[in-house]
């Protein structure tokens, strides 16, 4: 009985704080993306051939976790199969955040663009109890600065 009550409290806490945190995060991501639009991240391996550029490796990473409510919902979803929205938004947020951090680093160097952008996603949840989803996204690329 007590276990059930505790679980319900955790789920409602997770829903309340998790929902708020996600909304806030999306708002900040969209605002910062607008600012960073002037600095494109390009997946191409070929840098422009017009003139000389300084090349420097830049990277950004973020470790992000799902809240208890979403984990519970995902557990239910696992029974029936189908789209797991809670994980999709989690990964979307993590990727966009990592790219933004990479661009921050590039901007500090005065770069014009970031080329050959690669993503790397790894699950590091083996480290916490109950195998809660903890995901790391690392984005890296080469910042080109006109000399």
């Amino acid at each position: 009985m007590y276990e059930l009550i505790i679980t319900l409290i955790l789920i409602s806490l997770g829903y309340f704080f998790g929902h708020r945190a996600e909304k806030k995060h999306y708002k900040s991501i969209i605002a910062r993306e607008k600012v960073m639009n002037s600095l494109p991240a390009i997946a191409s391996r070929m840098p422009p051939q017009d003139g000389a550029y300084d090349q420097m490796l830049v990277s950004g990473n973020v470790v992000i976790a799902n809240d208890y409510f979403k984990m519970f919902v995902a557990g239910l979803r696992n029974l029936f199969g189908g789209q797991m929205r809670s994980y999709e938004t989690l990964l979307d947020r993590a990727r966009r955040e990592a790219i933004l951090r990479m661009k921050d680093e590039a901007k500090a160097l005065g770069a014009q663009a970031v080329f050959n952008v690669k993503y790397e996603t790894s699950n590091i949840s083996g480290q916490t109890k109950k195998r809660m989803p903890v995901i790391e996204v690392h984005a890296y690329g080469t910042a080109l600065t006109k000399i």
């Binding site: 955790l10 806490l13 997770g14 704080f17 998790g18 945190a21 996600e22 995060h25 391996r45 840098p47 422009p48 051939q49 003139g51 000389a52 550029y53 090349q55 420097m56 490796l57 990277s59 990473n61 973020v62 470790v63 992000i64 976790a65 799902n66 809240d67 208890y68 979403k70 989690l90 955040e97 080329f115 050959n116 690669k118 790397e120 790894s122 699950n123 590091i124 083996g126 480290q127 916490t128 109890k129 809660m132 903890v134 790391e136 690392h138 890296y140 690329g141 080469t142 080109l144």
Partner: protein, 107 residues
Amino acid sequence: MFISNLEFMTGKNVTKHLGLVQGSSVRAKHAGRDIMAGIKNLFGGELTAYTELLTESREEATERMIEQAKAVGANAILNVRFSTSSITAGAAEIYVYGTAVILDGLD
């Protein structure tokens, strides 16, 4: 030392390839951070302690790669790749590798 994940450097020629250089680092965090992360896990959001840990770990791996490149007399590392693997509970391995080269017109 120039480090880049492109295969060449704009406006500069590679005079010599010196082969693969690599660096790795395995790190674990202390128990206090682990407990904090567990609490944070309930509410979701970023686990700053882990982010810092992995950033430090990557810097160390890169540092080791650079040392190795200096030892073979390179002045740049091209085509750099990262990889992460969680080898055991509480530790992650960061591995970074690239091609050490000598570029024209660099000190």
